[in-house]
Symmetry: C2
Subunit: 323 residues, 2 copies
């Protein structure tokens, strides 16, 4: 009995330490830095030990956990919804933006800038309960495919990042999404795609109203923005909702700069991470001049603050979960 | 060995089923209803089984988890802070409200109504970083005592509710505070007092700003309300932050009505709970006519919707954790 009780833990320990927690990451410095950091902060004997309650990791979604080109997937959803709405009732097409959307002219909507994007979002994201909206998102996700890859959108999550999220949770981290994307949109797929439950999805939201009617009390989405979870909005929202500075924060664009800056400025060990889109062959290559996911400050100032710049082409053995 | 491996689980099971999870609750119907509900929704063989991910329980704080008379403890804190500020710089006392606060005249501030309360809150709750504010709260909590009981405020948490929170967590529930009180205020003591970590504290918040300066990036509290987590604001905030309808929701005033209404209207088993302050001898007795914690709708409509009305005098063997 004594021999047995000793042998079992040893076998389990060997299994844990030998398995590669990040199999889709190439054996480059990036992988080494991530694993070294996690092993250090979870080692009770280390000066840099972080107690489980403080192990908070926050990640942007668009361009960090899944793709965002040629335009945000949630905007493609919005345009697709407007097309479907216009089939039922063409009289809703009261502007050039909405007409372009009904023709699935993604480029025209995008070229219209912020105002066009907001109009498309408002028309497609309001006037219904959260439950109805999420049923619409689920239906779209199950059928719609990406114009370039032909994959379903939830197949365009990044395999290396899904592995990183799982690895962090295995090491006692609470993993959060902190994204410019909408909370009601992301929560439909975040748990299945990333293992992140609704209460750990932070993002932009429309104004909502509490209404009691024939369907009983419902939360209804109004045609107005409630909060934009981007730039300074990210640390502000993390303070409001989590109430702790993340130990690990990752993003891919200057919209994530303030979140990573605030996180890594905290006392003790911190890891800031930027996913740099360098892989035109397997994904897309863009940074300083991109309309979507523009990245300037992260490249210019991040390395000086010790941030890890992940080079997708070099560091990732595989890109999408669905391929 | 065979006998041993059978005997151990039986011993453990007996220990679990015989221990009283709510020792400070008298053996009345309220206790029976709570335990029956929890046992049913956590029994995989039950038609009313709720999976762990959906086991969300939300509770108001003031008057539900700790006292709120003769005025909200956070308002006492605000008044005490203004007194301390005035000692350093009497020129801040630019209104009757602030002068009354500096004299610790709680009644005068309260009688001034919403406007006076807001003024006292703004002056005491802004113009500093969240970190500085929370250090101030911690210092106050460690020393200030209640005018009636002489207890420290964190000793005036309700023992039966602390037991209920622990029992729910033991049964796989995630317990949240959803309060009209301030998030930065409550997070200072919620983990130690209730076992509820900062990320499960939902409440009212001041507007905040992200500032980078000599102290590095900080979240700074601005002199404006960001969101009032009361009445319809409670279900709206739960939808924004948790993204699920609670299975259990508890409060003590009409400020909690919408939260409990929305929660208990969800499909499947739900438990709505109202703490009714009926104990003038050991605590306070108030409901329909109270300026603090007014309770009308909960008493008139709650029972018809199946809500449990907890009678403090009858159902609780003990009131405060600190006595």
């Amino acid at each position: 009995m004594f021999r047995f009780s000793l042998a079992l833990p040893l076998t389990l320990m060997a299994g844990v330490s030998l398995a590669d927690p990040l199999p889709s990451w190439n054996n480059t410095d990036s992988k080494t830095r991530i694993i070294d950091f996690v092993e250090t902060v979870t080692d009770p004997a280390s000066d840099s030990y972080v107690t489980p309650g403080d192990r908070i990791a926050t990640f942007d979604n668009d361009g960090t956990l899944w793709g965002e080109q040629p335009l945000y997937f949630q905007l493609i959803f919005a345009i697709d919804v407007i097309g479907a709405m216009a089939q039922d009732d063409p009289s809703i097409l009261t502007s050039d933006t909405l007409k372009a959307a009904a023709n699935r002219d993604y480029k025209a909507v995008l070229d219209g800038g912020k105002e066009s994007i907001l109009e498309a979002m408002k028309v497609s994201h309001s006037g219904m309960s959260v439950d109805e909206f999420q049923a619409r998102v689920a239906e779209w996700l199950a059928t719609a495919t990406h114009p370039d890859t032909g994959l379903r959108y939830d197949q365009m999550t990044y395999q290396p990042m899904v592995e990183l999220l799982r690895y962090l949770r295995d090491e006692g981290f609470k993993t959060y999404i902190v994204s410019g994307g909408g909370i009601h949109f992301m929560r439909v797929f975040a748990e299945e795609a990333y293992g992140i439950p609704p209460e750990q999805v932070i993002g932009t939201y429309t104004a909502t109203e509490y209404r009691t009617g024939d369907d009983g009390p419902q939360i209804v989405k109004a045609p107005a923005i409630g909060f934009v979870d981007d730039k300074e909005g990210k640390p502000i929202n993390i303070d409001r909702i989590i109430g702790k500075r993340p130990v690990i924060a990752g993003g891919n664009s200057d919209g994530d700069f303030a979140m990573i800056e605030w996180s890594t400025a905290g006392e003790g060990p911190r890891l800031g991470l930027i996913v740099h889109h360098t892989d035109a062959a397997r994904e897309y290559s863009y940074d300083r001049d991109s309309h979507i996911g523009q990245l300037v400050d992260g490249l210019d100032k991040g390395p000086g603050m010790g941030w890890l710049i992940v080079d997708m082409a070099q560091d990732w053995d595989r890109i999408y979960t669905g391929r």
